[in-house]
Amino acid sequence: MDDDAEIIAEFLVESHENLDQLDRDLVELEQQPGSRELLSSIFRTIHTIKGTSGFLAFNRLEELTHVGENLLSRLRDGERVMDAGTTEVLLRMVDTVRALLDSVESTGTDAADDVDVETVVAALRAVLEGSSEAGEGPSAEPDEPGAAATTIDDAPPAAPPAEVVAEVVPEVVPIEPEPVLVEPEPVLVEPVETPAADVPAEGDAPEHRGVVDSSVRVDVDLLDSLVQLVGELVLTRNQVLQRTESSEDVELVRASQRLDLVASELQEGIMKTRMQPIGQVWSKMPRIVRDLAHQLGRDVDLQMEGHETELDRSLLEALKGPLTHLVRNALDHGIETPAVRTAAGKDPKGRLLLRSFHESGQVVVEISDDGKGIDPDTIARVAIERGVITRDQAARMETREIINLIFRPGFSTAAEVTNVSGRGVGMDVVRTNIERIGGTVDMQSQVGLGTTCRVRIPLTLAIIPALVVGEGEERYAIPQANLVELVRLEGEDLANNVEELAGAPLLRLRGHLLPLISMAEVLGRPRPDASALTVVVVQADDLRFGICVDEVHDTQEIVVKPIGRQLKALPTYAGATIMGDGRVALILDVPGIAHAHALAQNVAPTTRDNRAAIDEDSTALLVLEVAGGRRAALPLREVSRLEEFPTDRIERSGRAEAVQYRDGILPLVRLAGAIGLSEGSSEDEQVSVVVHESGGSRVGIVIDRVLDVVETTVVCSDVGRRAGVLGSAVIQDRVTDLVDLDAVVALSGVGA
């Protein structure tokens, strides 16, 4: 119902404007009766109204405009010549159309008895059939010419300038037309209409503003420039605030606070003008779903929630494509055919739910179906086949990560892959488009139960909240949308929770390993040593990682400004902004950084191999602590992973220790014992394990902790050579045992 009401409201606004135009055109036509151009314009207007009224089942309106259109087409094609009589009857038609539209606005139908459509239709027919007795009409209805004349006189000044109407028509739509329409307060209409049947029902005008009066069409360019200006204002306000903070002039402080308030409200208001309900996009969905369901032999019940959720019009525009795509996918690959559903014990009618709502400054759109879901195993298999990820990576990934692989470009480009995988035609395009507008997309699925796709988008792009961090002399802004949390690590925490793997620092955060990257590295400088770390944990796509920064300033609303073409290709920056002190600060592009530093991709192993090949003499060693303070090292290339297991997960089989790991058994070897040292007291609740893989089997080597990764040329001495130890070397100025990995692994052979 709301949908209809909205469409009708749009129709009314549009038609009223068209009619104003029509009045002007008709009058002008009298001056230059031969003008083909004017006739065409009039014809188009009537044609449009006819089409829409037919669509909305306003039959009387359709009939009237249909006859009018016929007459106009003759005129346009030069089969008839315009004369006073014809003009007269056409103007009557316009008036009647207007009356019918008013009736639609106040009662919701065009069936009002008081509008005399039949007489006008007859008059039009009469003219049409060549009995050029055009005078017939006016004489039959003596009031009519008067009414027409009034319209002619009144309409032009009241109407907006013609060019504005023409340019803007498809873009802007009144935002809240419903209240006027749905409950039109018919009280006033009834008494008025009986005495003056032919006068357009103007009676209700003073009571409340009609659809036409309550909204104004504004050029989108104007809105955009207002947004720009308010952005400037916000910046200036920030600068003023910063200056006045320390001021002793009370009046000035007060005025600047007022400025702060007003600017904020103004910003909010301006932003609202660009907001449009998502219902606009959704209104197209029922049709798409119906057609597709029909085409694919699906039975689908489409439900939509949150039509009124508003977002910036440019975002809405950009969202149309991806959303349509996701809906198509849900139907094509999610919801099964009725037969399959029945066999699976489900309701033969599939359910597709579109939901949208606001959540922490973002708009969330959910598309969920109760179809067959996505099988992570299939996805993983296909992804490995396509070389999107390695088998190793697949084993390490969480189900959610695997499902989101369908958004990877390599995954979805090949048609045969999508047939196997179930979903994914152009899913990378969907993601790219959503990311382009600063959004994220995430897919969750349960096999047999359905799939939910969550799209998050910022409310607006022009002004975003961001965390300002400092690095060196400069400040950088990290969009709040990417921000997860801030972690400060000092002293012991730093040593315990940050470790390096193949030279890559990792942060252990509540049981997860987060890749760390320092701002210095992001900016292409060497990574500094630090006694304390401030980590900004950020999220890009499905990847979470930490950026180590020098300082954290505060969160601010910043205005995103484009940067020049020379810098657009840099993946690190999303734009720039101006800080309170007037200086420029760069905005970091978090997904860009993730990609540029290969955090998100499977590039790491290859680069590591390359490095090994280039630098043959030096070896990367993982330096460990064992047996309560003794140092040992093993070649990093032999380490596939660092793990941490709770002590109570260690199980025993005979004398061997093992943990369940990745659907298998990981035999454990205690390094201290293996290299002839006494084991330290293991009161810890966790054990640190270096996972070594060779020839398809894995061994876990239990150590105390990882100390470092060093790249060094090893000079091995025989000092300390014994079972499990090749010898020793000086690493980082300390004598370190070099572990004979083969011998140590052999010790685990018992359980295999």
Binding site: G524, I563, G564, L567, L570, I578, V584
Partner: protein, 152 residues
């Protein structure tokens, strides 16, 4: 291009350059710069030009000339180029000169190619030679793809 005859002139390491006045927006003294790490070398940073972010490009670096002395602050010649505004950092600003009657000649062949690439040609003034800068080409600096850790 049309026949232009008025040039805004400036010096870069002793070379006398001119840019058609119609593409110069303004000339500013030194502005505080925000460095852009990992940007092409010639990009000295970003300046805030009344709320607009403008890329500042050092012409010395762009033309392969030796860097400016540390204590010498560059001037900004703000030009419009390909729909954007770019600041060219130069040593010193000269007058606006009228060169009507003079013929634009191609840059002599022995001028370094990096300079040839960014000029329309030269004008032989009575007392000096004016290099007529092509602001668009001068402002075209592309990012060299990083060799480390590129995306596949």
């Amino acid at each position: 291009m049309g026949e232009q005859s008025q040039y805004c002139t400036f010096w870069v390491d002793g070379l006398f350059f001119g840019v058609g006045v119609e593409c110069v927006q303004e000339v500013l003294r030194y502005q505080q710069l925000t460095a852009v790490p990992s940007a092409p070398e010639a990009i000295q940073g970003l300046i805030n030009l009344r709320g607009q972010i403008v890329t500042a490009l050092d012409l010395r670096c762009r033309l392969g000339l030796p860097p400016r002395a540390d204590d010498a602050l560059p001037m900004n010649v703000i030009v419009r180029s390909r729909g954007e505004v770019v600041s060219l950092l130069v040593d010193d600003i000269g007058d606006v000169i009228d060169t009507s009657g003079l013929e634009l000649e191609p840059a002599p062949a022995n001028v370094p190619s990096v300079v040839q690439d960014v000029v329309h040609g030269v004008l032989a003034l009575p007392d000096s030679i004016l290099l007529v800068l092509d602001a668009d080409r001068a402002a075209d600096v592309s990012v060299v793809p990083e060799t480390t850790g590129g995306t596949p």
